[in-house]
């Protein structure tokens, strides 16, 4: 009985057809970029922002609303940590920043790398931890005291360990508690270098304490059943977001348009309404016009 082998001619043709189809799909499916020179009517605005604003889904609400009011601009969000966003601004690879690392931002503006720093919105950080609460932090009103208890009990604490706004806030609380866990070789301090969602997962696995912004907590807490809120409401846990313009950026007009819109009534309205239907509370509280 002869085995049927596909004749090589047919195989060659099939192969060529498949490859050609794939090659044509390169042309068909690729999203064309719109460089400003070819489509002068719509220009790209690079917004460097933080992972917490993106992961909360805020941009899914903000960007379409902005582009509706400003059809000549298209926002492209590059979401990295606040530290990385500030670096992008320094290198003028971004046109406008939306970040939450106040000390670093002030230094950034003082160095001349940014201008027109304006408050946009705020929410707060929470200290969450394992239900068993080995450091007895639950209900402590002061975040600094809670951190001291954790250090004293050598309870597992998970840190972002990157230059994100969350990490800088965490370091400032440790500084006020006069504890420096970054120098310690004790294994209770776990530095992940990872994003908030991943770090929360690690805290969940290791039954550790972790500082998290309210927006990420709300959207992730169902995935992290071992963790619960331990400390909230302390003024020190205030998390404020600012928008900053970059002098000498590629699209100064676009950056300005975004800043004006987001601190204006339209942008503030979108921020104020965000998440209310789903979570029953504001995820970000708009506060443009407040003193920085």
């Amino acid at each position: 009985m002869r085995r049927f082998i596909t004749p090589p001619g047919i195989r060659r043709v099939t192969g060529l057809v498949l490859v050609t189809t794939l090659a044509l799909s390169l042309v068909g499916c690729s999203t064309p970029s719109t460089p400003a020179t070819i489509a002068p009517k719509v220009s790209d605005v690079i917004l460097a922002s933080t992972t917490s604003t993106q992961d909360s889904g805020l941009f899914d609400a903000l960007i379409p609303a902005f582009e509706k009011d400003n059809p000549s601009f298209k926002i492209k969000v590059v979401a990295v940590g606040s530290g990385a966003a500030l670096t992008l601004g320094e290198k003028k690879d971004a046109d406008v920043l939306l970040v939450h690392s106040p000390a670093a931002e002030t230094a950034f503006v003082a160095a001349g790398s940014g201008t027109d720093r304006k408050p946009v919105m705020y929410n707060d950080f929470l200290l969450v931890g394992p239900a068993s609460d080995p450091a007895k932090t639950k209900g402590t009103t002061s975040a600094v005291d809670a951190f001291k208890k954790i250090a004293a009990a050598k309870a597992t604490f998970v840190s972002r360990g990157d230059n994100s706004g969350t990490y800088t806030k965490e370091l400032s609380i440790w500084a006020s508690a006069t504890v420096d866990p970054t120098k310690t070789t004790d294994p209770w301090y776990v530095s992940t270098g990872a994003a908030m969602g991943v770090s929360l997962g690690i805290a969940n696995e290791k039954r550790g304490y972790i500082l998290v912004d309210r927006a990420t907590w709300l959207t992730n807490k169902d995935k992290d059943p071992e963790l619960a809120v331990m400390v909230e409401g302390d003024k020190k846990l205030f998390n404020s977001y600012h928008v900053i313009l970059i002098p000498g950026a590629r699209n100064i007009a676009g950056g300005k348009a975004f800043e004006d819109w987001i601190v204006g009534p339209a942008g503030q309205k979108v921020i104020g309404e965000f998440g209310v239907a789903k979570y029953g509370m504001q995820i970000f509280v708009p506060n443009a016009g407040a003193s920085s």
């Binding site: 004749p7 195989r11 192969g15 498949l18 068909g28 690729s30 690879d93 969602g197 929360l200 590629r250």
Partner: protein
């Protein structure tokens, strides 16, 4: 096991859901890596041919460089390209940062050494007697090159497949130079990292399955081309 079958099911529903985000991401992955493979072949094939055929002092060192470059880390190349394309860099005024074009550039740098390296090995394994025979029959340099490449076409196709395979699944370079921007520079690999960072592991797994499936189809096409005619060979 349930986790994996669930991921495969989610992968299929991702593709056929008609969700606005999915097909542009897949299309962009194929467009960027496909274009980069084509350009990398245009560069790597002649280099590989030259290295495979010629004998000259320093050939060994050049081959060493190519082989080392085959394994250079994507994220480091991404960083180099970012530095070059950044506004504070030498090519900043081109405005290529955070565009698919920048991603193609980075991936060409990654794939070209792969194509060159494998081609070198393929060409070098062609018997030297064939060259002599071709010259004796009056072949010009170009005809000789054509025949030698035809003779080693299996290896050359393997070089293209290696180039494509290396870049379709890399994430370091495209993340840094592309920025994973929704709607313009998000590809399958950066989408996976994005979902992992948000703790959406199920969705990330589904994307992973999609990526593997697409890579399988693309390689099936290339392999069919490679294996055509094998029935006539011992």
């Amino acid at each position: 096991m349930h986790v994996y079958t669930q991921a495969i099911a989610e992968a299929f529903s991702l593709i056929f859901s008609g969700s606005g985000d999915v097909w542009p991401v897949i299309g962009l992955s194929l467009a960027v890596s496909g274009t980069a493979t084509l350009i990398a072949t245009a560069i790597g094939l002649p280099v590989g041919y030259f290295l495979g055929m010629s004998r000259f002092a320093g050939r060994g060192s050049l081959i060493l460089l190519v082989n080392t470059a085959m394994g250079w880390p994507p994220v480091v190349i991404g960083l180099f390209v970012y530095m070059a394309l950044s506004r504070t860099g030498p090519f900043g005024d081109l405005g290529l940062l955070f565009t698919p074009q920048a991603m193609v550039v980075a991936q060409v740098i990654l794939a070209a050494p792969l194509v060159a390296g494998v081609t070198t090995a393929a060409i070098a394994s062609v018997p030297r007697d064939l060259r002599l025979q071709l010259r004796a029959l009056g072949a010009s340099r170009l005809q000789e090159a054509f025949e030698v490449i035809k003779e080693s076409r299996r290896g050359v196709m393997a070089a293209v497949i290696a180039g494509f395979g290396g870049i379709i699944s890399e994430v370091g370079a495209v993340s840094i130079v592309g920025g994973n921007i929704q709607g313009s520079t998000r590809v399958m690999t950066t989408a996976i990292v994005f979902n992992v960072n948000r703790g959406e592991f199920g969705l990330a797994m589904a994307w992973g399955m999609v990526l593997l499936g697409i890579a399988l189809v693309a390689n099936a096409a290339l392999t069919m081309l490679q294996q055509a005619g094998s029935v006539y060979e011992r």
